[in-house]
């Protein structure tokens, strides 16, 4: 046992943590602005991966990675736009369960549609960039972990700056705090919700692209695991808390990775405990701080 070994697990955890962050911040932003959760949000991870597979890969259209990546980024805005106009804005916000069921339906539909197109198989996707591993002081650090971490930090702080220092950011915060009053001060709340959905979709496919790159695979049902982490991170951090999602997402990634380390040291299979951590964290936080660690409900940013 050594410090190096421990730090190696921490670094590996950061890699997965960043991917939780990128799915959770869009989810929490939309949840904050609408007051409702879009269960289908995690499916952007699946859509990004299959976008790479179908558009970029040799088994698909073979456009190459760059063209596929750009298409996925633009496609996320189109899908977000369609999701808002076809479903989200049509539902009665007072009936929470309707919203939950409808977005769950969207999720099932998308997953099974893509699964059918992919012959119900996990596919391998072309890499976004060649993976290098650097050895620093005995620690193995891949460039994909570095890129993911950089992306998560830049996007989180960029979004926080947008929310706090731009006019549209202020309008989004206004809708999140008090939608009725926001209408009363002349804010088009529908347009602001669309903006939140577009931002969330765009950030989520960036996470999805990096996730696909890290795992080299496209799994139609990846949202099953991803959405679990997404709920855990957003709820533990506090709904609407973008900065909190960064902290909690990274923490969850590291905690999961350390469960492997504990398993190795203690002679059991730590991977069986990985998925439990987020849920336990969620239950404990909900019992002690129902608004989350950084949450204040009705507040985004």
């Amino acid at each position: 046992m050594s410090l190096t070994e421990f730090l190696q697990y921490v670094i590996d955890g950061l890699g997965s943590g960043t991917l939780y962050v990128l799915v959770a911040i869009g989810f929490t932003l939309v949840f904050g602005v609408m007051g409702l959760m879009n269960v289908a949000h995690a499916d952007f991870y699946m859509l990004a991966a299959f976008g790479l597979f179908f558009l970029g890969g040799v088994e698909g259209l073979g456009w190459g990675v760059l063209a596929a990546t750009i298409s996925v980024l633009i496609g996320s805005l189109i899908i977000g736009f369609a999701m808002f106009h076809l479903i989200l804005k049509r539902l009665d916000k007072e009936i929470m369960i309707a919203f939950f069921v409808a977005t769950l339906g969207v999720s099932f539909f998308l997953e099974n549609l893509v699964a059918k197109l992919a012959d119900f198989r996990v596919r391998s996707v072309p890499a976004l960039f060649t993976t290098h591993t650097y050895v620093i002081e005995g620690l193995y650090i891949t460039n994909s972990v570095a890129v993911s971490l950089a992306a998560a930090l830049i996007i989180t702080f960029g979004l926080l700056a947008f929310l706090n220092y731009t006019e549209h950011g202020q309008l989004l915060r206004a809708v999140a705090e008090n939608a009725m009053l926001a209408k009363g001060v002349g804010i088009d709340t529908g347009r602001m919700t669309l903006l939140a959905v577009l931002i969330g979709s765009f950030i989520a496919v960036i996470g999805g692209l990096l996730y696909a790159n890290t795992t080299s695979t496209a799994d139609p049902f990846v949202a099953n695991t991803v959405s679990l982490k997404m709920f855990a991170v957003a709820i533990v951090a506090g709904i609407g808390s973008v900065g909190g999602a960064l902290v909690v997402g990274l923490f969850l990634g590291i905690a999961e990775s350390l469960s492997l380390w504990v398993g190795v040291r203690g002679g059991f299979d730590g991977s069986q405990w990985q998925n439990v951590i987020g849920l336990v964290l969620m239950v404990v936080v909900l019992m002690t701080r129902p608004n989350g660690l950084f949450g204040k409900f009705e507040r985004i940013g």
Binding site: A174, L181, G186, R299
Partner: protein, 262 residues
């Protein structure tokens, strides 16, 4: 006389599910004046105001602003294009934002209305002259303000929006009567100068009749009286209804059902 009417409500019905909060209400608020809508808790005052602002759906009837129909306009369009500005009774400012940010939201609407050709000379300096305490607190989050300061902030923001029609819900709620009088003394001048008409809702009949030039009385969702304020001040029936003489007279008190508070 559409030219003299700031707000004309015709046959307004507002319903929340099976509950009919407002039934067949007609209101004419004359231009340049303060009109009061008085009634007890749950009588349908706030629902009427919110329906005029476009914040609750209108089940039946129509709302005209400045002689032009606005019944189907979404709330934010009523604000920006028609200058209909509501000051809600509670939660009237964004508590997580600073005083400056809250005022900024008003200035933003004012700018948009100016771009549409609605001139008004009410500026941030005017707001600070009116309520100096707001200038001292510009960078404070609104959640740290007192009840009176919150009210002032809401009024200042609303005036910055260049309103044609101000809808004020319970201006006396949570404020010292002296402060209410002071605010309205200043407000009257501003309203005249900027040609703003006011429809205010009040539970406190005495306050309402002091501020307004005419008043409507609403009971259980229906208008039951309409007269100049001077006449209503001495009205025995009104006194009976609002000074608790009901029970003594053996008449059932007005229904005290809570209005859904949107």
């Amino acid at each position: 006389m559409p030219d003299d009417s700031a707000i004309a409500v015709r046959g307004l019905d507002v319903a929340y599910g099976a509950i009919r909060a407002v039934q067949g209400v007609d209101i004419d608020a004359p231009r340049g004046q303060i009109t009061a809508l008085i009634g007890s808790n749950g009588a349908g005052k706030s629902s009427t105001l919110n329906a005029i602002a476009g914040l609750v759906p209108i089940a039946r009837g129509s709302v005209e602003i400045g002689g032009v129909d606005a019944t189907r306009l979404p709330a934010h369009v009523r604000v920006v294009e028609r200058g209909v500005v509501l000051i809600p009774e509670a939660r009237a400012v964004f508590l997580t934002m600073t005083v400056r940010e809250n005022l900024g939201l008003g200035i933003r609407v004012g700018r948009e209305r100016e771009a549409r050709g609605h001139k008004s000379a009410f500026t941030l300096e005017d707001a600070f002259r009116l309520f100096p305490v707001l200038e001292e607190r510009t960078d404070k989050r609104a959640q740290y303000l007192s009840g009176g300061e919150l009210k002032m902030l809401a009024i200042a923001r609303s005036l910055l929006m260049h309103p044609r029609v101000l809808l004020i819900d319970e201006p006396s709620m949570g404020l010292a009567p002296l402060l209410v009088r002071q605010i309205f003394a200043v407000l009257r001048g501003i309203l005249r100068e900027h040609d703003v008409s006011v429809l205010l809702v009040e539970q406190d009949t005495a306050v309402a009749l002091e501020l307004a030039s005419s008043a409507y009385v609403i009971e259980q969702g229906r208008i039951t009286m309409h007269a100049p304020a001077s006449k209503l001040r001495g009205d025995a029936r009104l006194k009976a209804a609002y000074l608790g003489a009901d029970a003594a007279a053996g008449r059932p008190a007005p229904e005290d059902a809570k209005e859904p508070c949107p």
